[in-house]
Assembly symmetry: C2
């Protein structure tokens, strides 16, 4: 066996399972270089080998029996992405008993049976990793367990269900009713045909149980957690909240008053101030606001679900599995023997903000615009210049162009007889949000 390869048994080839496979193929060399260890999918267990899929797993790797994964002594790590609780429980249990590292994104499984499974993992000394189980691509589990290891966590406020957040966002943006927003979410694939698990708040509830357990270091009993969904939220409430200066969010709240205080764990629709960053979390995005006694407030934001973001979290755990297998520590992923090939700044693109102080005369804007055009720079907006006697401010936004061209244009503008002060040029980054699969 190659100690520098991690042999993976992948259980489940649905959306996320296929995503993990595809992303491991796509970025395999990169991940191998970073982990010092190749991540090799050795076996894939699917429920129905004859099902037609968007992505076909390599036939030679496929089995219909997940038990083969737990039994295969060559497999180092089992990635459980089957969903459901019953069979997934049997697989994870068998895997841990066989001493195999387990990676899972199954929050229902962990919330319902985690107490037994974590106990088994401890007893056997085998890692049970679950970054993908909470907030998808947001690395909140590692952040709490490792990055904030020196903190007592005082509170967590999390938007951890993208379906609910999409519905609430649309109700606010479009002023539509819950039923209409839900239908829209279903049409776009953001809500299941049976949306109960999400809109009841229980998917967020499962995540709250895991976060609460991490914060307290002890197990949070699911039976004691209060979970309320968003089905009863009326468009009127969203509107009133907005008039009062708030947005309505489904919040998972984990909170403790003082060191000895009891732990509060609940999921309820809640108003948050419109100015707060949590109110700026729109659509299917998730965010987790953590308050530690040392670090203060920290917020983690990203895609909470979807094939690729969840794959990113699973692959992070596979990196941990590599370290566990090899018993090594991560050193800086910088190879100082190589020098990065940098883009000359004049070739870098962005939009621009430009302010000129010019003679307050007709024709000046035309001259400036012509000169910019000669250098391939287009004006997308001009602000009404404010005139002051015989001088005028000219403020404009320029479209995407290389910095070098803009600088050349600027030098020429500075030399125009109608230019009174040194022009002010700032970068403008439109920062469109990238959609993920």
């Amino acid at each position: 066996m190659d100690a520098r390869a991690l042999q993976i048994g992948l259980a489940g080839f649905g959306n996320v399972g296929a995503g993990v496979y595809l992303n491991l193929v796509r970025n395999g060399d990169l991940v191998a270089a970073r982990c010092g260890c190749r991540l090799e999918v050795r076996r894939i267990a699917v429920r129905d080998v004859n099902r037609v899929r968007a992505v076909d797993p390599p036939a030679a790797l496929v089995t219909a029996d997940w038990r083969e994964l737990a039994a295969d002594p060559e497999i180092d790590v089992i990635v459980e992405l089957m969903g459901g609780v019953s069979e997934a429980y049997d697989l994870v249990k068998a895997a841990l008993e066989a001493g195999r590292i387990v990676v899972t994104g199954n929050k229902a499984l962990l919330a319902e049976r985690g107490r037994e499974l974590f106990a088994l993992a401890r007893e056997r000394g085998v890692p049970l990793l679950f970054e993908a189980a909470v907030a998808g691509g947001i690395p909140i589990i590692k952040a709490i367990q490792e990055s904030l290891v020196g903190n007592r966590i005082e509170s967590i406020y999390g938007i951890v269900n993208g379906t609910c957040n999409y519905i609430l966002t649309r109700m606010q943006e479009a002023g539509i009713a819950y039923a209409e927003a839900l239908e829209e979410a279903q049409r776009l694939g953001y809500a299941e045909a049976d949306p109960a698990l999400d809109v009841s708040g229980w998917d967020a509830g499962h995540k709250a149980i895991l976060l609460g357990s991490l914060v307290s270091g002890a197990w949070v009993d699911p039976g004691s957690v209060v979970v309320e969904g968003i089905e009863h939220i009326a468009a009127a409430d969203i509107g009133y909240a907005e008039r009062l200066g708030y947005a309505v969010k489904l919040l998972a709240v984990i909170r403790r008053k003082g060191e000895a205080g009891l732990l509060e764990v609940r999921v309820q629709p809640s108003l948050v101030p419109s100015q707060h960053m949590l109110a700026a979390v729109h659509g299917v995005f998730n965010a987790v606001l953590v308050r530690g006694d040392v670090v203060g407030d920290a917020l983690f934001y990203g895609s909470g679900a979807g094939r690729d973001p969840t794959s990113s979290a699973v692959i992070s755990d596979l990196g941990e599995a590599c370290r566990a297998k090899r018993g090594v520590i991560q050193t800086a992923l910088i190879n100082p023997a190589e020098e990065a090939a940098l883009l000359p700044v004049d070739e870098s693109f962005s939009h621009y903000y430009l302010r000129l102080n010019v003679d307050n005369l007709p024709g000046v804007l035309a001259r400036v615009a012509a000169l910019l055009g000669d250098h391939g720079a287009g004006i997308t907006t001009v602000l009404q210049p404010e005139t002051e006697g015989d001088s005028a401010e000219l403020v404009m936004v320029l479209g995407d162009a290389p910095y070098g061209s803009i600088r050349r244009a600027l030098r020429e503008i500075a030399e125009l007889d109608c230019t009174r002060e040194t022009p002010v040029l700032l970068r403008l980054e439109p920062l469109e949000t990238r959609a993920t699969a």
Copy 2:
């Protein structure tokens, strides 16, 4: 030697050094339980042993000679928080050569001499950890190296200098000039007496060099990085930007077009859309927006400087050092043998949003208010009720009170003869931002 203790040599007992020491004392048991290893400060090197300090280090641990730390065979890890480049370089070099793990928050040192130091660390197989060097308490180094290990990083947009962000925020909020905002920042301790390193953009530049090196996996030459500060930003520019729908931020930009493209690394004042989360990063807070090809957009937000947030990052690296020393992997920090003691939801406090549909008659609000008062709930805001024939909506915000009291009040309100529909109650979380030292 106790394999379950990590012996620390702390070099530097300024603001951050003292913070690390104090937080290790305060949360020592917690950190030991989580890391499976006690973090013991064995020796503290200070420049001037006679200096009067806000916090005194234990005299028995103090030495004036940092060379003692590198030479002491009992020390596992050197925490370099001396600042400056020359002596810090000598210490880190000596420590790595002696096979000691190094933790540093010194971005200037790493940006200027990192190429040699990372090479030495690789050669000796010793971890050189630097979470505290970029964005203070925000765990961005671990996020990029471990959590996003499966991603090609396509871009990073970072607000990584709190001093500049404070000045720009105040210029925008208060409409004041750069000089006035800088003076205010200095008065509040957010800017140094000599602010050059911050306002020139070079502190952010050091961080951009480290982030760029992590993204590319190769070394970014500081000489090739374009760095521009905020000294030339006029109040007028901030105002125009706002009118155009943007906020001005000092952005560290790391970006690559395609796999083979050259890497762009630069620090420049830039306009970002007012609706974007980066525009909502106010005051001394930092934020880093990372786009990965698998995870999509992820944003990390928190305190970028200060004694405690930076200590949090140093202690995170000390946790890594424990794992490096013991060669073990982190398992879930949940002890399933214990059950978390949960707060009954009726005892949990928050503010509330309440909507009633009542008879459109005089005196109804008074009856409701009296009833809420009986249960200890105060009304902080009432929205002008919208009347519809003989019924009226009554929307109010209630101050901090236990959920149980509010629910009891609500049951009684529901039974009033003037109440027409089931009242709607939602939580309201004010989410004040916590200041950190």
